[in-house]
């Protein structure tokens, strides 16, 4: 099986130790690399493909609509690039007339508030569920998993009726509340698994030092869970940022609209008017933040996951 050639974490180190003694300080990289060649190939193709696709979108965003979807698209792009004639107009139009700036600000506020609140609500619950045995613990955990499986539209229907009768449609409070509520189950679920893996020695030590259980949580366990919290927060950030189904229903007035709905609307209207250049410019504007964020924060994730505090 091809999997023989891939080594699980740690093996390489042991091998390192083994071969080192045999070969001394000899660089064993070639041998290792060859074994990993299929892996490199697969990753390489995948990554190349991703680059091509993303590059295409970015190129398209600088072109005139007529030049996209054409065999000579690349030529048009290079021509524009070399003659400094890239159509920045697309971006300007998207940002100003399409009010992307408004959507952007909205999304930023909604997403940040949601992510923070989600953690504040889920982490304590996850901790309690993972550590303490009490009646209803199993039931609650099952209920939470069950919540994960509920398709959004099943929840939307009655909530929509309720919200409209309370006249709270197109109210930012409503939509932020919904974002939080919709992501709490997943976050709790995720952090639960994470907390389960933390050693109980910490609590014992804290208790011996006279720390209250609540204090133990906030001062010791919560910080220890940082890697997991960061990972799940990033997932949440991206999901809330790209969320448009509920936003479309509950926050569709221009002033309250978040970026994903805005993008969808822009794409729809641009489909009707055939302004593909503008559409792709909007796309780039919308995905740029999550992309950049991810690049910067991915370091944190890695540091967190491979952090040493996990082992007891």
């Amino acid at each position: 099986m091809a999997k023989e050639k891939k080594h699980p974490a740690g093996i390489t180190d042991a091998q390192k130790a083994g071969t080192k003694t045999r070969m001394g300080i000899e660089p064993f990289k070639p041998k290792k690399e060859v074994r990993l060649l299929p892996g490199y190939l697969l990753c390489g193709i995948w990554i190349l493909f991703t680059f091509v696709v993303v590059a295409w979108v970015i190129c398209a965003s600088f072109l005139d609509s007529r030049e996209i979807f054409d065999a000579s698209m690349m030529r048009s792009f290079l021509h524009r690039l070399t003659t400094f004639n890239l159509k920045f107009d697309n971006y300007v139009k998207a940002w100003n007339t399409q009010k992307v700036s408004v959507f952007f600000l909205n999304s930023l506020i909604y997403t940040l508030i949601s992510c923070v609140t989600i953690i504040l609500v889920s982490a304590p619950a996850a901790y309690v569920l993972s550590r303490f045995r009490f009646r209803g613990n199993g039931l609650i955990q099952n209920l939470i998993s069950a919540a994960l499986g509920v398709p959004a539209i099943m929840i939307i229907m009655p909530l929509f009726g309720l919200v409209t009768s309370l006249r709270m449609t197109n109210n930012p409070v409503t939509i932020v509340f919904l974002y939080i509520a919709m992501h709490v189950p997943f976050t709790t679920f995720f952090l639960l698994a994470f907390f389960k893996n933390l050693s109980p020695t910490f609590e014992e030590a804290a208790a011996m030092d006279g720390c209250t259980p609540i204090g133990t949580f906030w001062r010791i366990m919560f910080p220890l869970a940082q890697p997991g919290i960061i990972t799940v927060s990033i997932f949440n950030f991206i999901t809330v940022w790209n969320e448009y189904f509920m936003s479309m229903i509950f926050a569709n007035k221009t002033q309250v609209r978040p970026v994903a709905v805005g993008l969808y609307n822009m794409i729809q209207s641009m489909r009707y008017t055939g302004d593909w250049g503008g559409m792709f410019a909007s796309v780039v504007i919308v995905f740029a933040p999550t992309f950049l964020l991810y690049i910067f924060l991915s370091e944190k994730i890695i540091a967190g996951v491979t952090g040493g505090a996990i082992k007891g």
């Binding site: 007529r66 979807f69 009726g161 409209t164 009768s165 309370l166 006249r167």
Partner: protein
């Protein structure tokens, strides 16, 4: 401890109770607004004697004190129609002092409007497709018979309905009558941005193929197709958005529109006319008269990839098409003709699908006169013309000029004495629509022949 545990349960219980009570809450709010409307209308009748008096001038034209409107539109701000509406709203305010708050919903209005109206949200007027406004939202509409029959400052001494497209006002009235609403009125919505669905073609490609005039009957049509094919372009193209309409039109020319309606309503495609239609398209596909890309075209590929690039010559589509592909085309010469008759049993070129968007006024509005004034502002005169120009669409006002791209479409429009429904009813049922799309595409790829296609449709029963 126990108290704290009870709290969530109590909250949940309150919520459930609250949910049950929301019904009564809704009833009270709508009852209140109904009472308001009754008061306003009776106030109006008291102020002006007998509205049945044909000479009542300008009473319906007097704008209410302190009026301000909330207008929900189906357009997006990015669309040309949206831009014109935004401009018009400002101009209207400058002219009359009535502030119009425009909410650009985009097509989502289809799902957000009704619940909003139910919840008593303050919406004075809204627009959408002419079918949808009356069929989905008829119960929310203010009857407009009197408004349309009255004269106003801006109608030049004529009744409103005489200065706008007769065909469309008649259509709206007919639809209102068919709907049979509780208030007994007929006209409930005012159409605008009319369209007609007919064969749109590329004049340059016709010239290149040596075609001198649009086909008037089926033989000429096939001849045109042959010439186009010889000149190296696909005669006809279509994509998944319009396949049902293409099939529907064909079926209509074979068995007539009443039969079409029957077939879809009863889901009974066993009629021999269906087989004939299927085999007709099988032949068209085999002869190469239908673009082979039709099988893989996902909207808007048909118009953007093929038609706009001069690779296909004809497209059965709506008069919105020039506007939709204006960014992809330069100096495109547009022509239109009506789909020719095929059988004696079916309809001929006088039967076409036409319609438009339309304005509806919320029957609970506090400012009906102001709302109607805005509608007049949009459908006659400067802004009607502007809307037509910016969106390359059909104007509503009788004195407004049709865009040059739609000159020939105008002839088709004026020659249409019979109105077909959208896609001749083939899209009334999603199952039918999906089956037609699937079968049609397979016909093009060769997976189906005419018989198989007809069988697949017959299986819907």
């Amino acid at each position: 401890m126990r108290k704290i545990k009870l709290l969530p349960i109590a909250l949940a219980a309150m919520l459930l109770l609250g949910a049950c009570n929301s019904k009564t809450a809704k009833e009270t709010t709508s009852a209140e607004s109904n009472a308001e409307t009754v008061e306003t209308t009776s106030a109006e009748t008291n102020a002006e004697p007998a509205e049945t008096n044909a000479e009542s001038s300008g009473d319906l034209g007097t704008l209410e004190e302190g009026a301000s409107l909330v207008y929900w539109t189906m357009w997006n701000e990015a669309e040309p129609q949206g831009a014109v509406i935004a401009e018009a709203a400002k101009a209207f305010e400058d002219k009359t002092g009535v502030h119009v708050e425009v909410n650009f919903n985009g097509r989502d209005i289809r799902k957000t409007l009704e619940p909003a109206l139910d919840a008593g949200e303050n919406i004075d007027l809204f627009d959408e497709d002419v079918d949808r406004v009356i069929n989905s939202w008829g119960n929310y509409l203010l009857p407009l018979d009197e408004y349309a029959a009255a004269e106003y400052d801006d109608t030049d001494g004529k009744a409103y309905r005489d200065v706008v497209s007769k065909a469309l006002i008649d259509l709206a009235e007919q639809m209102g009558e068919e709907k049979g609403l509780a208030d007994g009125g007929k006209l409930h919505h005012i159409p605008y941005q009319p369209f007609i669905f007919t064969m749109m073609y590329n004049k340059d490609l016709f010239d290149k193929a040596g075609i001198t005039s649009a086909p008037a009957n089926w033989e000429e049509f096939l001849d045109v197709c042959a010439k186009l094919k010889e000149s190296g372009v696909a005669p006809i193209t279509v994509d998944d958005a319009y396949m049902a309409a293409l099939f529907g039109y064909t079926l209509d020319r074979i068995v007539g529109s009443d039969k079409c309606r029957e077939i879809v309503e009863n889901l009974d495609f066993s009629d021999p006319g269906v087989l004939e239609a299927c085999q007709l398209w099988e032949k068209m596909a085999k002869e190469g008269y239908l673009s082979s890309k039709a099988a893989t075209n996902v909207w808007p590929a048909g118009q953007v990839d093929e038609f706009a690039k001069n690779e296909a010559a004809m497209y059965l589509n709506g008069t919105w098409l020039p506007n939709e592909i204006k960014e992809q085309t330069e100096n495109f010469r547009w022509g239109s003709f009506a789909w020719p008759a095929i059988n004696a049993a079916g309809d001929g070129t006088e039967a076409n699908n036409y319609g438009g968007q339309s304005f509806g006024i919320n029957k609970n509005t506090k400012y009906p006169n102001a709302a109607f004034a805005f509608i007049r502002f949009m459908t006659i005169g400067e802004y009607d013309q502007k809307l037509a120009e910016e969106s390359m669409g059909v104007p509503m006002g009788v004195t407004s000029v049709w865009p040059e791209q739609l000159e020939e479409a105008k002839a088709v429009f004026e020659g249409s004495s019979k109105r077909l429904g959208w896609a001749v009813g083939m899209e009334d049922n999603s199952d039918v629509n999906a089956a037609i799309k699937d079968g049609f595409a397979k016909l093009v790829t060769g997976e189906y022949d005419g018989q198989k296609f007809a069988d697949a449709l017959a299986d819907l029963k």
